[in-house]
Symmetry: C2
DNA sequence: TAGATTGTTAATCGATTAACAATC
DNA sequence: TAGATTGTTAATCGATTAACAATC
């Protein structure tokens, strides 16, 4: 399984494949061809076969793909066959919402703690975890194996925190702060810039208006 | 200004340009060359010039780009020179968090109401708006001009709601439900699939591990 | 005027699609 | 065996980068 050179374009499509395969599985479908999946997902069959073949031959000529098997393999590829422990940094509305979101747990993402700089929030509970003061975070990371830091703090705070996180074992940052983070090689960053997403929407609305005159 | 054929790849970069231009503006920088911006943003100067030129010539040979002017033009292109009224459908943790997020307001996105199917939530307030029962939504849309529906409900509910929304004037859907929505031509959809985003992170973590052995 | 930097065309690179031989 | 469908190579398409003439 040679994974060098898998583009992020391909990676970005994998979760969607997993979702559709999961639905097929739930509906008791045993096998699926790239053509059927193509119709269902509205992408070309060719792309599906190419994408899957980046990771090895999961299908069988004349038969297609076994849904159960493909689902399992896809889960492994996505790294969902293990657990990830995460902390949330920033106990504002968004941070608390993410802490309360149970579906992540089902996928192996374990909520381990939530931190904020505001002393007023300390002690309040988010899904069984008391909010802690952010200056306890470093000690916490030293004594707990945490993989992922979820950043739901304003951008000014976020940038200054990265080095400490990385130096204390954080492997990946799920970044909701509206800023680009610089991390050392080997540390993964996934940005969720909600306001950018909303601007894409307003762009598309107003472009549509401009084009219609 | 011929906007046909602007790819979503370009559109996806526009909010980031706006962010950097905004920062330059705040720092009192008057002009910037594609080369300087290139260094700052870690993309090629060539791409920057190509991207800008999709929308017309904003620069001046030998000088570069006027930050203020470019920022204003970029805002207009993104459709940020007008207001958008939105409702949130689903008053769970995420829905309430988005309702409370004030920064959207600054950009012209006006929070007009929040709906849920759970009668227990009805009457609670989210940033000055009482949560309403979802079966009041249709009437609400008929008597208020709402542009954007933010969907923060489970996928089963989301799919069944789309037609009603579109038939009552909704122009765009900001979709946090984990499902692909089918909308008529001219209605914009922007998906935020948080669990997909998290899976990309776990993919990249575990790929890194696999590659190191 | 000379230097700087855009706007734009041409070249390259990468991603998607088409085609088909291999094979179940 | 015949039909179906993959895995994979080749062709196409689109996006990115390089180059440079135009021009401030």
């Amino acid at each position: 399984m040679q994974e060098k050179g898998i583009s992020q374009a391909v990676v970005g499509r994998l979760p969607r494949y997993l979702r559709y395969l999961g639905e097929l599985k739930e509906n008791g479908v045993e096998r699926v061809s790239s053509q059927e999946l193509s119709t269902l997902m509205n992408v070309t069959a060719s792309q599906i076969r190419q994408d899957f073949n980046n990771f090895g031959g999961f299908g069988q000529q004349g038969y297609g793909y076994n849904v159960d098997y493909l689902y399992t393999e896809m889960s492994k590829i996505l790294g969902l066959d293990r657990e990830y422990h995460f902390v949330i940094i920033g106990a504002g509305n968004l941070g608390r919402a993410l802490g309360n979101y149970l579906n992540f747990e089902r996928r192996g993402f374990i909520f381990r703690g939530i931190f904020d700089k505001d002393p007023e929030l300390v002690g309040k509970e988010v899904r069984g975890e008391k909010i802690r003061l952010i200056n306890e975070l470093e000690d916490f990371l030293k004594s707990n194996k945490i993989d992922i830091a979820v950043l739901t703090i304003p951008k000014t705070g976020a940038v200054g925190l990265v080095d400490m996180l990385v130096n204390n074992g954080i492997r990946a940052i799920w970044n909701f702060a509206h800023v680009d983070l610089n991390v050392p090689e080997g540390v993964q960053v996934e940005n969720v810039h909600l306001s950018d997403s909303l601007m894409k929407l307003s762009y598309n609305i107003s472009r549509y208006d401009r084009e219609k005159q």
